[in-house]
Symmetry: C2
Subunit: 233 residues, 2 copies
């Protein structure tokens, strides 16, 4: 009986894990499609991302409920409990990445509607690829309980921030040179900010993974403290 219960419990935990990864996959896709649509000018695609966000929101609510139910029924402790509290937090960040994809798409639609011959005048794709890679790596680290891989994600966020700062500088220069571009440059700046925030949320997820595996909270640790924590077996 006990064994049966424990097996059932394992299945439930496994199911939570799988569903987080599915939600992560959907959010990844939303963000990718938003950036693609922004550069290709495919308004129909941007519209699909905008309406698709409702599914991301549903998944968050469903998974949140599922976590509470598993805690109530199974009374998990130690790593199992940390896994579930990690899921509770990670889905909040995934949902917010979904919001960013939606926001990018809405701004994209607006820009194309306002400027017949719109083309983004700064290169955001590299930063977006970095942020997307961070998101993918944080989900992988979650799936494989890999604190070292998670720590790499945390470190990578500096790169995204540096690129974001450079993009903002570039946009300021455009605005100063031609004040007629101010309104549109601000929209592009908001898109750049959304991309940067995707990196932040991926970093958050990676930090939860480290907490899950190591049992230590590294949210406000310095880079050196973080590495020490992860390499301490």
């Amino acid at each position: 009986m006990l064994e049966h219960t424990s097996k059932q419990f394992d299945l439930e935990l496994e199911s939570l894990r799988t569903r987080v990864l599915q939600m992560g996959g959907l959010v990844e896709q939303q963000f990718r499609l938003a950036m693609e649509g922004l550069y290709s000018g495919d308004i129909a695609q941007l519209d699909r991302v905008i309406t698709g966000d409702a599914r991301v929101n549903e998944l968050e609510v469903e998974l949140d409920e599922a976590c509470t139910q598993v805690i109530a029924k199974r009374q998990p402790t130690a790593i199992d409990l940390r896994m579930i509290t990690t899921v509770i937090k990670a889905i909040g960040d995934l949902e917010r990445i979904g919001d960013k994809a939606q926001k990018i798409s809405k701004l994209g639609v607006r820009l194309y509607n306002q400027h017949a011959s719109f083309a983004p005048d700064v290169e955001l794709r590299h930063t977006a690829d970095l942020a997307l890679a961070m998101l993918r790596a944080s989900l992988d680290a979650f799936a494989r309980l890999d604190a070292t891989a998670a720590a790499e994600v945390v470190h990578k966020d500096d790169q995204v921030d540096t690129e974001h700062t450079a993009i903002v500088r570039q946009l300021i220069t455009f605005m100063m040179e031609d004040p007629r571009t101010i309104s549109r440059s601000l929209d592009i700046m908001a898109i750049a900010k959304a991309v940067e925030r995707v990196g932040d949320h991926a970093k958050n997820i990676a930090e939860y993974v480290i907490y899950m595996v190591k049992g230590r909270n590294v949210r406000h640790a310095s880079p050196e403290e973080l590495d020490r924590e992860v390499n301490d077996h």
Copy 2:
């Protein structure tokens, strides 16, 4: 024995609640001092907010640990469990409000250092007061398990958003009229955004409170659905 355990458990829950309110009080104060310092030009005060954020971060980590321990030890169910998962999420939002206070202070210090005679040329105090009132009301609703009061907080966020949009428009006008103000207007825009985000986080906390009291997640509900949910006894 059972009664003793249950009494102990009640004390532990009470202690979690109290500590969240203390953390909330500190965060409230950080935000208030940041806005005050921004308008009075009191750099020492802004510096205190910047360094004070470390304490907010510590409280988040401590409370997060405490929640996990109570779940592991007490195996709470129903409303007790929802209270604890609410705490886990709310402290994340409180910590982020702390970050916003720190950010406002850093931008304030920068603006005063760059412009000898700096004075904010848009009025952010009213929006900040609204956001602060939302934060206070969401913490009150949490303390009193008051879903109706929490729903009011959720509705108030629209006001903050509307004021924020008006401020952004005003800043765009300044920038267009005098491109030399672009860099500084962008800093003020970032402060306005931080204020607006405080409202968002207060709204998040209010939504968790509704979930805690009603057992139903209203995160993505329409205003009408939300009122129906809260008034349904």
